[in-house]
Amino acid sequence: MIDYLQRLGASGLATLQTLGRATVLWWQAMTCAPDWRNGPGLLARQLYFVGVYSLLIIVVSGLFIGMVLSLQGYTVLVRFGAAEALGQLVSLSLLRELGPVVAALLFAGRAGSAMTAEIGLMKATEQLAAMEMIGVDPLRRVIRPRLLAGMLAMPVLAQIFNVVAIWGAVMVGVHWLGVDAGSFWSNMQNVVDFDEDVINGVIKSFVFGAVITWIAVHQGYDVVPTSEGIAAATTRTVVYSSLAVLALDFLLTAVMFGVD
């Protein structure tokens, strides 16, 4: 019994230590001197790998989710004679929740895991140590561009997801199922508020992007430099970031849309 408690305590302390290391890493990476010469180029490169490469999966998922949402929403609403409310249903669901969250989960799986693997491999092949020996701070050159790229790319991806999803919803709802286009759009416009819904969605995805890249970068940086170590770290990135996104989503939703 004592043994169990001891182990529990030890693992608790270990978790705190990991969290501490991750925080220090983030802080040092974000606050090191700005790199005006190489920074923009490195950032652009990371945005490409993290954002542009994720576009395909975001667009395809967005399209299908929009279409399914529209179809499911219609079958329920039409029973109450409220099919005209389809636009409101779809747009609010997407802008407030599905867009930021689903895009974030996809991002964690694709870009997050790739980031962890890449940084882990750089550590295992001593590239980070080599960088230090030459006199370049790996936090500045490798870590920070990735953190910034995640914060910038995630909102963009989420909004593209939203746009594509709403178009999918329009295709299914208006063109296939016959909901009146006029009421679809006007009801939607009446209900959706730019500040409340669109901007809050952007803020959510910004936070998600920051957290996902934070976890991904830390897991890679602290990896055990073997192939099993890298595989384990990659898995942890996906699992932890997904859980973090869902938990933060609840928190942010409560703060932003909560009943006062």
Binding site: L47, G81, Q159, Q189, F194
Partner: protein, 156 residues
């Protein structure tokens, strides 16, 4: 991988993001340019606001002219004090206009409807609408109906 190509593509990516937000703003949330004409404040007191919320619509003849800015309880008259922001272009709300709380649509959303009166003077910023009609409360109606029926029965 050419640096220049990467930068161009990344630029396009960010532009796509900005355009998405713009499209969502205009097409989906109905953001329009006109909203920047500014508004002036009118206050109305109600006995019962019955579920009217902030950001609710204010209409004249069914047309949107403003929004409910705030709702709170006036401790002196013990009535609900509702602050309305009316668009500046609607400057013909007369002193004897009536503000009523009505129900819209299937979902029972509450909104404020203003019926213009015939008086000379027009309300300006900070003025109060004196004639108000509170929200329709189902329980009161049932209570009235029941007591009316009861009275009729008693008279027979």
């Amino acid at each position: 991988m050419q640096t220049r190509n990467i930068e161009i593509i990344v630029g396009a990516f960010m532009l796509a993001g900005i355009l998405s937000v713009a499209w969502l703003g205009i097409q989906v949330s109905g953001l329009t340019m006109q909203e920047s004409t500014g508004s002036y404040k009118l206050t109305a007191y109600f006995n019962n606001i019955g579920g009217l919320t902030e950001r609710g619509k204010v209409t004249i003849a069914g047309v949107l002219v403003g929004r409910v800015a705030s709702i709170d309880l006036d401790p002196i008259s013990v009535r609900a004090r509702v602050e309305l922001h009316i668009d500046n272009s609607v400057d013909y709300i007369t002193e004897d206009s009536i503000a009523s709380i009505k129900t819209a649509g299937v979902l029972g959303e509450k909104y404020v409807s203003i019926a213009i009166g015939g008086a000379e003077d027009v309300l300006g910023n900070g003025d109060v609408i004196h004639d108000t009609q509170s929200a329709f409360v189902l329980e009161d109606l049932i209570g009235t109906v029941l007591s009316t029926l009861f009275n009729e029965k008693a008279e027979e």
